[in-house]
């Protein structure tokens, strides 16, 4: 029995509405593909590396296939048909020849040729998925061998220097100082790049590029530190932006443990085309499900643009939608790091009680999900003393409501990228609260019919009301009207639309086939 006395009938209704709102978008995702989905297929099928300008061979190959036959058949059949016709064994070599204009792609007419191309594509894609499976088993084995994080919430710290070789010692130091999860923030701008950069990178703006080699280097360094500390330290990156499906695949291949992966973030905050996002989302979530990766959703962002009290129910609605999309894609509850944040203006009377009500509502609606609890950013003013106090109250809400993943708040938020001392003070704050009050949730029961219960019921009620309107309007129209995070995003606008194609009859994608079997 929960602490909020939520009406199970209302909760059931909310979930049912989320399914009805989300299903048309799933249908849309199942009938379309994107350049990035097709590039992810080729990455899993073994295409590696980049040309001398740094453009990955998967981009060159998908562009070549698209120029000849379009994207609607999927690239697998044209590529593997051409591979056989050219008498080649290596798909990367085919990509290089195709980039030089030496290969013509087509969809074979003979049924036997189609079957042969599908068989070859399936074999290549399955080899990639087998690596993903091995990485997942490896993670489970290392956690058994070294031990897991000592407690919930997991303590989540960010590094972001722009240089992977600077990030590594910082990440190792953060892990030694107590972090259970390290997130490497991406360079601003990567979300709108329509290719994944290659190799180890040493230059970035306010973050480090997500590349396969950077993933590999950081995971290896954290393995070393995990062994030394006797606990498995998790690594996080971002499967978002125009290359979300490819980055999900790379994360699976390099044993990343958590990925930021929100169903609507790219649409609302990066102005990426809604259809592109939903198609890429579904594929990337299927990959995460297979790879045993925990996703983190981005509801905290709504509260940084809209008012955190007025918009509280949009967070609940988004969490319910994210849950539906995640389950539909095969993710289990333990993989759902649904997001929310401590962003109410501290000048608002009863702000702390409101935060408690909202956080507890998320906890009770999603009892088996490791919720991701995000610290204050919007009302961090540069007054670092007040900021440290706010972070302490944020940590207390985290402890009182059993959050699964706690992103450590920095008192210097909005002032500088965190200094060594900022991180140390922030961790001291977390340790104090968790050791002094970590089990307070056992005693904390909001009064029946009191302020906290009342507020939680109110927010859930508003969420149901909004979901009813979304079901009536259609989710794409609701997004176009600015329902979430006050940004208006029509379905026929936004970046990356030209990389979307409707499936032609006979569309074939060996990865989707394997993930849905």
């Amino acid at each position: 029995m929960g602490k909020l006395g939520l009406d199970p009938e209302v909760v059931r209704r909310a979930r049912e509405l989320a399914v009805r709102a989300g299903q048309p978008v799933v249908d849309l995702a199942r009938s379309h593909t994107t350049v990035s989905v097709e590039r992810a297929v080729l990455r899993l099928a073994g295409v590696r590396g980049a040309d001398s300008d740094g453009i990955p061979w998967v981009n060159r190959l998908v562009d070549a296939v698209r120029a000849d036959v379009g994207l609607g058949h999927g690239v697998a059949v044209p590529v593997f048909h051409a591979l056989a016709a050219e008498g080649l064994a290596d798909v990367t070599v085919l990509a290089q020849k195709a980039a030089a204009g030496a290969v013509r792609f087509g969809v074979p007419e003979k049924k036997g040729e189609v079957t042969a191309a599908r068989r070859a594509a399936r074999r290549a894609a399955n080899a990639g998925l087998k690596v993903v499976d091995r990485r997942r088993a490896e993670r489970e084995r290392l956690i058994r061998r070294w031990g897991d994080a000592p407690r919930r919430p997991w303590i989540y710290l960010i590094v972001a220097t722009g240089d992977i070789y600077e990030d590594i010692p910082q990440a190792q130091a953060a892990a030694r100082a107590g972090a259970d999860v390290i997130a490497v923030i991406r360079s601003t701008g990567q979300s709108l790049l329509d290719y994944v950069p290659e190799g180890a990178t040493r230059e970035g703006f306010a973050g480090t590029y997500a590349t396969q080699e950077n993933f590999r280097l950081m995971r290896a360094a954290l393995d070393e530190t995990s062994r030394e500390l006797g606990r498995y330290v998790r690594l996080t990156n971002y499967a978002s932006g125009l290359c979300m499906p490819e980055i999900a695949a790379l994360a699976g291949l390099e044993r990343l443990d958590m990925m930021l992966n929100d169903s609507m973030y790219g649409i609302l905050f990066r102005d990426i085309n809604p259809i592109r996002t939903f198609v890429d989302q579904r594929f990337s979530r299927q990959v995460h499900a297979r790879a045993g990766i925990i996703i983190n959703t981005g509801e905290d962002n709504y509260l940084t643009t809209a008012d955190a009290v007025e918009a509280a129910h949009t967070v609940t609605v988004s969490q319910l939608l994210n849950e539906f999309f995640a389950h539909e894609a095969g993710l289990a509850d333990w993989q759902l790091g649904l997001g929310h944040a401590f962003e109410i203006n501290p000048e608002v009377p009863e702000s702390f009680r409101l935060e408690l009500a909202h956080a507890l509502l998320a906890r009770e609606l999603f009892p088996d999900a490791p919720l991701k609890w995000m610290p204050p950013t919007k009302h961090m003013t540069g007054d670092v003393f007040r900021g440290n106090l706010l972070d302490g109250f944020f940590n207390l809400v985290g402890a009182l409501t059993g959050q699964g993943i706690l992103l450590v708040g920095m008192m210097t938020e909005a002032v500088v990228t965190p200094w060594l001392s900022d991180r140390d003070i922030a961790l001291q704050n977390v340790r104090y609260v968790l050791s002094g009050a970590g089990n307070l949730h056992e005693d904390f029961v909001p009064a029946p019919g009191g302020f906290i219960q009342g507020r939680a019921h109110e927010v859930l009620g508003e969420a149901v009301g909004l979901l009813e309107r979304v079901v009536e309007d259609g989710l794409l129209n609701a997004i176009a009207d600015g329902t979430f995070g006050i940004m208006k995003r029509p379905a026929d606008r936004g970046k990356g639309l030209d990389g979307v194609a409707r499936h032609e009859p006979g569309y074939y994608n060996p990865v989707t086939e394997a993930l849905e079997s």
């Binding site: 130091a173 601003t188 701008g189 703006f205 905050f269 643009t305 809209a306 200094w419 001392s421 140390d424």
Partner: protein, 244 residues
């Protein structure tokens, strides 16, 4: 009085508090080093009140002490608001009466900066700090191009919209990206349009120095805490003239 000193608990005591980290293992020597730094910073006497080892080979210090520097408030240079702050109603009325058309504003985050929080706070209907954004002004025609807009795109849009003013927001400051981007932007406008036809160029962001407008080639810089009404009042002041 134009000469002041820092205030701890007594007028003229000159007391300040600083904290910093030294790349030293915490021991007596490290504490001595912290006091030496404080002395060189002008804290004399310096009281080391807290020292704590951090990570491997670092120590964090908090130091209180007296500084003997004097501050002359007559020598302080700042940009004071040199235009009247108008209400939304006054702003719309002046534009309508004097300009006789809507005033056109184009806004964007340029370069790789993806943080639209600043430009959105000023432009979006929602606004900030209880003030609605420029989109809410009847007599302002606002185009918000969003994030990661290239400079050529911005110039083209400004030209196509016949923009009276261009607002650029820059939040990311790593490697001085905000300064480089702003200079590139103002240079592009100078190159693309003759002096009389150029829109008013305004940049904003939390880390800008408001004194650098001329250096960056823009007409005005707005720093942290700026509200939409201040920007709108400035637009009226610079482009339309006084309300009376």
């Amino acid at each position: 009085m134009t000469i002041v000193r820092p205030y701890g608990d007594t007028t003229g005591d000159g007391m300040v508090q600083v904290s910093f980290t030294l790349p030293l293992v915490h021991d007596k020597r490290a504490e001595g080093a912290a006091v030496q730094l404080a002395n060189k910073m002008g804290l004399d006497p310096a009281m080391l009140v807290h020292a704590k080892p951090m990570g491997e080979g670092f120590t964090f210090f908090v130091v209180y002490g007296r500084v003997n520097h004097l501050v002359d408030t007559d020598e302080v240079q700042v940009v004071e608001r040199d235009f009247p702050l108008l209400s939304a109603k006054e702003i719309n009325a002046v534009i309508k009466r004097k300009l006789r058309r809507r005033l056109t504003v184009v806004g964007a985050c340029i370069g790789t900066d993806a943080h639209t929080v600043g430009i959105d706070a000023i432009l979006n209907l929602k606004g900030i700090a209880g003030e609605k954004g420029l989109e809410s002004y009847r007599e302002l025609a606002v185009t918000n191009m969003g994030a990661q807009v290239s400079v050529p795109e911005l110039v083209e849009t400004a030209r196509a919209q016949k923009a009276d003013a261009v607002l650029v927001s820059q939040v990311v400051t790593q490697r001085d990206a905000h300064l480089l981007n702003t200079r590139a932007m103002s240079a592009a406008f100078r190159e693309a349009m003759p002096a009389g036809r150029r829109p008013l160029l305004i940049v904003g962001g939390p880390r800008f120095d408001e004194l650098m407008a001329a250096d960056l080639g823009v007409d005005r810089i707005f720093s942290r805490g700026t509200t939409p009404r201040e920007v709108a009042s400035y637009l009226v002041h610079a482009l339309v003239g006084s309300p009376s």
